[in-house]
């Protein structure tokens, strides 16, 4: 009945507003000191994700604040990577995968029928677990690869964007004398920063990072973490990590996902300011996970 449906919707919205206000207030306490460009905010409402018949993620409602780093943590199979991939419509690339609920980038539902998935992926870039520069392309070509997909770009503009992106990724000084050598000849850490430069060259609003440091040594990891701290002045960043200390070091907000049992869908246990999650989490499940008591 419409009345019941309206009431339920109002209750959900009201609960969401309360959660969101709390998250925003707490997250803003740790917010970025300097914001060079106001990026966009994600609002996720009642998100359910499926692979065929398998219900992978159940009813996630949360807000991802602009110009902040939000870490998604949880044990393997809890759905955090699936949620990440749903934020730029990569989830639907898996055959049989489907999405229910809403994912809004500012006020635009990215799953609305009139929205082009390719444009969503331009606005919401992705950095993957293993550095994956295009193997046959030079450093320069890797960064410039996405620039000409939508429009013509002059050589001088391309030069500027490549330099700006490489500088923004803390890589320029290391590669400026070998821009035309293969990107795959760089070290693992440099390759990952090259991928970040490639992702930022198209001026996205959001950067999604799926365990971006898991294939890197500690020195390269710290370099990428420093880079993430700088990038949030221009982008909204969502990072999936298994390294809880990394989540604690780099993020402003942390979302903890968990499974009730193997085979059950993953769900969001809580999202809160990172310092709160790692000192006084609200949920016992979170406490047990972050202090390593289980699994």
């Amino acid at each position: 009945m419409p009345e019941t449906a309206d009431t339920t919707k109002t209750d959900t919205d009201s609960a969401l507003q309360t959660d969101l206000a709390k998250t925003a207030e707490q997250a803003s306490k740790r917010g970025t000191d300097k914001v060079e460009r106001v990026a966009k905010r994600f609002t996720v409402k009642s998100l359910n994700l499926y692979y065929g018949d398998f219900h992978a993620v159940h009813d996630v409602t949360m807000r991802i604040e602009p110009n902040q780093v939000t870490a998604l943590i949880g044990s393997s199979g809890c759905g955090k990577t699936t949620v990440l991939r749903s934020l730029n419509r990569m989830h639907e690339l898996t055959p049989g995968a489907r999405v229910e609920g809403e994912v809004e980038l500012d006020d635009q539902d990215i799953y609305a029928s009139n929205v082009d998935a390719v444009e969503v992926r331009r606005l919401v870039g992705m950095v993957f677990q293993a550095p994956n520069p295009f193997p046959t392309m030079s450093v320069y070509e890797n960064v410039a690869a996405g620039l000409t997909l939508n429009r013509k770009v002059s050589k001088s503009e391309k030069d500027d964007i490549v330099e700006r992106s490489l500088r923004g990724s803390h890589l320029w000084d290391e590669v400026k004398d070998r821009l035309h050598r293969k990107g795959s000849a760089l070290s693992g850490g440099q390759q990952q920063r090259l991928c970040i430069a490639r992702a930022t060259a198209v001026q996205p609003e959001v950067l999604l990072m799926d365990e971006p440091c898991s294939a890197l040594d500690p020195v390269a990891t710290l370099a990428v973490e420093d880079l993430i701290e700088d990038l949030k002045s221009r982008y909204t960043i969502v990072i999936v990590t298994h390294n809880m200390q990394q989540a604690a070091r780099v993020s402003d907000s942390t979302a903890f996902f968990n499974l009730e049992a193997p085979g059950q869908p993953g769900h969001l246990v809580e999202i809160d300011a990172t310092d709160k999650i790692f000192t006084t989490p609200s949920q016992k499940e979170t406490e047990d996970y972050v202090s390593g008591r289980f699994g």
Partner: protein
């Protein structure tokens, strides 16, 4: 799911036991101190002073264990709050040990045959007994994560504070005899030290509330007496 980090949990439990064991050392020191006060036993007082090295040693030991845990285990959430609290508790223990030393150091000043004023010594005896109860209660509250028992330390501390005030009144009106006045002034130093031990026990109680609730609030604000700062329950 399997339980994780068992060695780490063992390490944490051992740390807490070692730290709170310091309160047993304080109780032993306090018992000897009060006996020395009552009988003007300077030899026993010297023993208390010498034995304070055990409490100081425990402080250093617990401090080093805490540094090791922080450096190697990256504790978070309740574990982190517990470790932070234990550092405070150990500091309070070390201070209580020092108060016993302070008392023991003034015992020789009272002389071999001091002009003991019974009303005052009775109150000091009561203060010592009450301080012992509080130290023991603070340990029990911490071990049981019992915030109500911890909060009760404030009520217990009021008894010590009142006795301390009474001692002060007695000392002021103790008469004109210079020896008795000197003895009474020395006893005021003793009363003050016992009163501080009570305060330290309350400090431990506040750490119990911090471990349990994640909020640090003084049970009573010293600069605004009577204003409770932590909601009960």
């Amino acid at each position: 799911m399997p339980e994780g980090r068992l060695h780490y949990q063992d390490h944490l439990e051992a740390l807490e036991k070692n730290c709170l064991g310091g309160l047993d050392l304080v109780i032993a020191a306090l018992d000897r101190t009060m006996e020395a006060v009552e009988h003007q036993d300077t030899e026993l007082a010297e023993l208390v002073i010498a034995d304070d090295d055990r409490i100081d040693g425990r402080y250093l030991e617990v401090h080093q264990e805490i540094l090791t845990l922080l450096a190697t285990q990256a504790p978070v959430a309740t574990d982190l709050r517990l470790i932070s609290a234990l550092l405070h508790v150990m500091h309070s223990i070390e201070r209580m040990g020092d108060q016993c030393v302070n008392i023991s150091k003034v015992i020789p000043l009272t002389g071999y045959d001091a002009p003991v004023h019974s009303e005052m010594i009775d109150r000091i005896r009561l203060m010592g007994k009450q301080a012992r109860t509080m130290v023991s209660q603070s340990k029990k509250a911490f071990e049981g994560r019992d915030v109500e028992l911890a909060r009760d330390l404030v009520r217990q501390d009021d008894l010590i504070d009142n006795l301390n005030k009474e001692c002060f009144q007695i000392a002021v009106q103790v008469g004109d005899d210079p020896d008795t006045r000197e003895w009474a002034m020395t006893m005021m130093l003793v009363a003050r030290a016992i009163e501080r031990i009570g305060d330290n026990a309350v400090d431990i109680g506040e750490q119990v509330a911090f471990v349990v609730t994640g909020l640090f609030r003084e049970f009573e604000d010293a600069s605004h007496p009577g204003r409770e700062t932590l909601p009960s329950g």
